[in-house]
Amino acid sequence: MKAIILGVMALSGLGLAFGVLLAWVSKKFHVQIDPRVEKVTELLPGVNCGACGFAGCSALAEALVADTAQLTACPVSGADSKKQIAQELGVCAVDLHNITPLAVVACNGGTRAKDKFKYQGLADCRVAVKTMGGPKNCKYACVGQGTCATVCPANAISMRADGIPLINPDLCVGCTKCVAVCPSNIIYMLEREKKVYIKCRSRDKGAQVMKNCKCGCIACMKCVKECPVKCISIVDNLAVIDHAKCINCQKCVAVCPTKCIAVL
């Protein structure tokens, strides 16, 4: 009986002592936590993928609250959750998807571009273009091995049956990886509101383009003449649109005889 009373008393004493100690420690070493961090962490995807460059979602949330990171850093969360996070942080959310530039393919050839030879090597554009100057007659053409599709982190690029990559504008996040990897330099970034672009990069003369693919820019000047704001010029046998002046009237698209001016 005595032993039980002793044990209860000893444990209660210890509990009391530690309780007082802990209470004192929690007062003494108190860290002010922004309540927004918790809320933002909840709004972030919570998969801790690390794609933002931080250790995980809560680390990004802390950085967001401390204003040392941009909301764009998270590639996973959608527009809705980004809007909510922006509200929580008291900043203005813009629909990013409409302001990031979009990758577009400046080649209209694909299977229509004549083959110089049948390429049988490794399915990689970078190897293909190094093989005897590329498998296409046109040295500016897409060689169609789909390396851009392999590197796209957003799975926005797929190879069409006609051998040209198709970039899904809804999925493209504007990371420019495909631009960097394309050895023919035919992918470039275009502002989303600029709807009209030239689907060709060939500096060959018109006659040569007709021999190579029949669907590239032949520098016929029709678009130049048609443009009401004179924003198209021919540089090195290739039409170039000055997007600062373009008013999206799309008259050039209608007149292009080889259909190499496209609308997004």
Binding site: K116, F117, R126, T131, M132
Partner: protein, 434 residues
């Protein structure tokens, strides 16, 4: 018998052309001479459209250190200087010469006498002016190679010709034995070495016997070593390992271990340049393959179209599947026969459609980690790992497997049971991470 670690004997198909004596191809009516035929800087043309040239006239030169001069291979008129098909680069600047049919030699080409009085510098100048490059395939300018930055003690002469199908070096050794030996002695003098070793594989016994007899007869201090027949023994680092048991460290060159390696064809070209003052405007090319009616070894002018060589060999027995410049392992596939022979063209190989299909059918399957590529790799790399890096699109991870040690012999791709295009992937890694 001496050899190196790794590699494998590959069925050579050398019987197709090994007994065919070297024939001289009739003069072509036109030659296309690319201004880039060697490792190093591209030459600038020193002639213009409409100029008259003679055989051996200088037509292209460069003031860069690593470059090689280019000479007319016919006498006639410069028709044009334009971009033309090139067997390695695809397209390159080339000088087109229309023959006048006379083949008048340039006035500078006269037989030299008192060769023994020429100094090392004079000999190097002669070699530079003659535009001699290594004729084994890489076409490295000879005057640069023979003037090493570090002292060397051994000259290795490469008579291995391990590449399947090719027999041009073998025929050269049989038919121009004396000239080759004289050329070797000249190179020995230039480099200033005592030890000279010729490495030849066991399947070329006649060449070994002949060279040994001549060396004894002429009292040359040249050793001839018989090597086990194995691919890629002709690669210079592997040859050094096989004959001298010295290993060239990663990223270093043969002269770092005191060796210079030169091809027998180059020795012949040095002989011609020094004794006959003849620039490098012709070479021996093996035209072979099951598709060729009459496989032959031909002495042709640089710039002759492949088509003319193939026509001279009586064309094809069946529809060709692939035309390759060089051998099947390291050669380059071509898409046309309207291509000029360049200094580095050691052979023209025509494969049948069936042979091509055997290799391309079911290509690029998954790696089964059998390790055959690791066993065969002559530089001890892990080819499968590099290949997987390419497949997984993780090129940045490839650097740890030392892709730059690869000599691009293609043995890994040859043995791969899953027919993976390993070498293509390694080339890609090299190109991207450079």
């Amino acid at each position: 018998m001496k050899t190196f670690k790794g590699g494998q004997h590959i069925d050579g198909f050398k019987h197709l052309s090994r007994e065919m004596a070297i024939k001289t191809l009739p003069l072509p009516s036109q030659v296309i001479i690319p201004l880039s035929q060697h490792t190093g800087a591209v030459c600038e043309p020193v002639v213009k459209k409409g100029d008259m040239v003679k055989t051996g006239t200088l037509i292209g030169t460069s003031d860069k250190l690593i470059s090689s001069r280019i000479h007319a291979s016919l006498s006639g008129v410069i028709k044009d200087i334009l971009e033309y098909n090139h067997p390695i680069l695809g397209q390159a600047q080339a000088v087109i010469i229309d023959s006048d049919g006379n083949d008048t030699l340039d006035s500078a080409i006269v037989k030299r006498t008192k060769i023994e009085l020429l100094s090392k510098e004079q000999l190097l100048e002669i070699i530079k002016n003659a535009g001699i490059v290594g004729l084994g395939g890489a076409a490295f300018p000879a005057q640069v190679k023979l003037n090493p930055l570090k002292p060397v003690d051994t000259l290795l002469i490469n008579g291995v010709e391990c590449e399947p199908y090719l027999t041009c070096d073998y025929r050269l050794m049989l038919e121009h034995t004396n000239s080759i030996l004289k050329g070797i002695v000249l190179m020995q003098k230039i480099i200033g070495v005592e030890t000279v070793i010729i490495g030849i594989e066991e399947d070329k016994l006649e060449a070994i016997k002949l060279l040994r007899n001549k060396c004894v007869e002429k009292k040359y201090n040249i050793e001839i070593v018989c090597l086990k027949a194995k691919y890629p023994q002709g690669a210079e680092k592997q040859l050094i390992k096989a004959i001298l048991d010295r290993e060239v460290p990663s990223g270093k060159l043969p002269f770092d271990v005191g060796v210079i390696v030169s091809n027998v064809g180059t020795a012949f070209a040095v002989f011609e340049a020094v004794y006959n003052a003849k620039p490098l405007y012709e070479r021996v090319v093996t035209v072979t393959g099951k598709c060729v009616k009459q496989p032959s070894n031909l002495k042709v002018r640089i710039g002759t179209r492949f088509k003319e060589l193939l026509d001279f060999c009586q064309g094809f027995t069946q529809t060709p599947g692939k035309i390759i410049m060089g051998g099947p392992m390291m050669g380059m596939s071509q898409y046309t026969d309207d291509l000029p022979v360049i200094k580095g063209t050691s052979g023209i190989l025509v494969l049948s459609q069936k042979e091509v299909q055997e290799f391309s059918q079911g290509a690029d399957q998954s790696c089964i980690r059998c390790g055959r590529c690791v066993n065969i790799c002559p530089v001890g790399m892990l080819p499968y790992a590099l290949s997987l890096c390419v497949e997984m699109n993780k090129l940045d991870k490839a650097a740890q497997y030392n892709p730059f040690d690869c000599i691009e012999c293609g043995a890994c791709t040859y043995v791969c049971p899953a027919k993976r295009q390993i070498l293509s992937g390694i080339r890609l890694i090299k190109a991207v991470t450079r």
